[in-house]
């Protein structure tokens, strides 16, 4: 139980996917212009991450012990089809949510956080439960980082930024400061 808790905290804060591993930067910088969409996209990504963790575990246990070289190809196929499948389900069950997510949903396929998570979970030989907790932490961590950046970006729109670093340059510097703040969490482990 203790172990699971640490996996969760570590993927949520200490080893935050975006701010320390640089995974999923494209949506992090591309979509974080408003708080609301950031939150929605974060939630959708969390969902896909959890499904992927489940699929990765199934693949690892039943297919990849026989053919380890198929790892990348099979993961990417599974991720692409999962995203497609989720898209269809959401479209059927809740057209409102589907319209709100729009283009971001299919783009989750090329979010490297998803493939990164599958590979991490494999490398650390996580079991099913550990993998799921890890995915949940990573997804929520991604959401937190996105929402924080979106909030800061909305503020920086109102302030007087020099023309040369307006736009992405400014966002990257903000992300750097955020990342510095998150490094403070690294002390959590030694405190216990």
């Amino acid at each position: 139980m203790d172990n699971l808790f640490w996996i969760f905290i570590s993927s949520l804060l200490i080893n935050n996917f975006v701010l320390t591993y640089f995974l999923g930067l494209c949506p992090f910088l591309g979509v974080s212009s408003s708080l609301e969409t950031s939150f929605r996209l974060g939630m959708a990504t969390t969902f896909v991450l959890i499904i992927t963790a489940l699929c990765a575990w199934i693949l690892n246990t039943y297919l990849l012990i026989y053919a380890p070289y198929l790892r990348l190809v099979s993961f990417i196929v599974v991720i692409a089809s999962t995203v497609q499948f989720i898209e269809m389900v959401i479209k059927k069950l809740s057209p409102v949510l589907f319209r709100a997510l729009g283009i971001f949903l299919p783009l989750i396929t090329t979010n490297c956080a998803i493939l990164g998570l599958a590979i991490f979970a494999t490398n650390r030989s996580y079991g099913l439960v550990e993998g799921l907790i890890y995915a949940l932490g990573a997804g929520l961590g991604f959401t937190i980082a996105m929402v924080l950046l979106a909030g800061l970006r909305e503020e920086s729109e109102l302030s007087d930024v020099p023309a040369l670093i307006q736009g992405t340059a400014m966002n990257l510097i903000i992300a750097g400061i955020l990342s510095m703040a998150f490094m403070g969490f690294a002390g959590l482990f030694s405190a216990v």
Binding site: T20, R71, V73, I119, L164, I173
Partner: protein, 228 residues
């Protein structure tokens, strides 16, 4: 579309990292040292060239609806090849950056080039485009690696033996005596900020170029007016 234009596009005016902002994840994560930057950059160039080539070869046989999954499978196949080759020939380097070698698959540059260029152009141009886009990416990666290693560790070209074998062991240039540097540069925040500064630098250079181009235009108009 001429070759000169393709080269210029890949290296500067449409540079995947600086202009299109694609593939930032590996760019920021691996650029700790020059050696790892070079390793990942070369791997990306190889995969991008090969995948562009193959996509251009089969571009007339591919169905519109299934093209994207097909392209991503081609890319995943080539990445697996490079991954296995690296495991065989430079195992220690692979140990360090294996995650980001695998993540070349989700580097949007590759799928982007396959979709927007290679699926519409003949093989030879697609190959050139892949190599040039890859090189543009490699150059930014090297520049980041250079700055971060210099600032963070106070060295340059350390551990190049991971790439070039034992002959490269003494290539390391030491700038500080205690081997310590400005630690922030090698940590994640440094990567974000340095990339932000790089983008700002690109903006400055572009503005200068624009100003000088305008000045040249004005000059030309004046000369035209003078010679009736």
């Amino acid at each position: 579309m001429t070759s000169k234009q393709i080269i210029q596009d890949g290296l500067w005016s449409n540079n995947p990292a600086l202009v299109q902002l694609l593939g930032l994840c590996p760019l920021l994560a691996v650029s700790n040292t020059v050696a790892t930057s070079l390793g990942l950059g070369l791997a990306t160039v190889m995969v991008l060239g090969a995948s562009n080539c193959l996509v251009a070869l089969i571009r007339n046989q591919v169905d519109e609806a299934t093209r994207l999954p097909l392209f991503i499978l081609i890319i995943a196949g080539f990445v697996t090849c490079v991954d296995l080759a690296m495991q065989a020939w430079s195992f220690e380097l692979h140990q360090r950056i294996s995650l980001f070698i695998a993540l070349i698959v989700t580097n949007c540059t590759l799928l982007g080039r396959a979709e927007s260029f290679a699926s519409k152009n003949p093989v030879i141009y697609s190959l050139l485009d892949g190599l040039m886009m890859g090189t543009g990416f490699l150059l930014v990666l090297l520049a980041m690696g250079f700055c971060r290693e210099l600032l963070g560790h106070g060295t340059l070209f350390s551990q190049m033996d991971l790439l070039f074998g034992d002959t490269a062991k003494n290539w390391t240039i030491q700038f500080t005596t205690d081997g310590q540097g400005f630690l922030l540069a090698v940590l994640p925040p440094g990567a974000f900020m340095l990339m932000g500064l790089f983008l700002a630098l690109k903006n400055i250079v572009d503005e200068r170029l624009l100003v000088s181009a305008r000045a040249r235009d004005i000059q030309r108009v004046r000369i035209d007016l003078r010679t009736p």
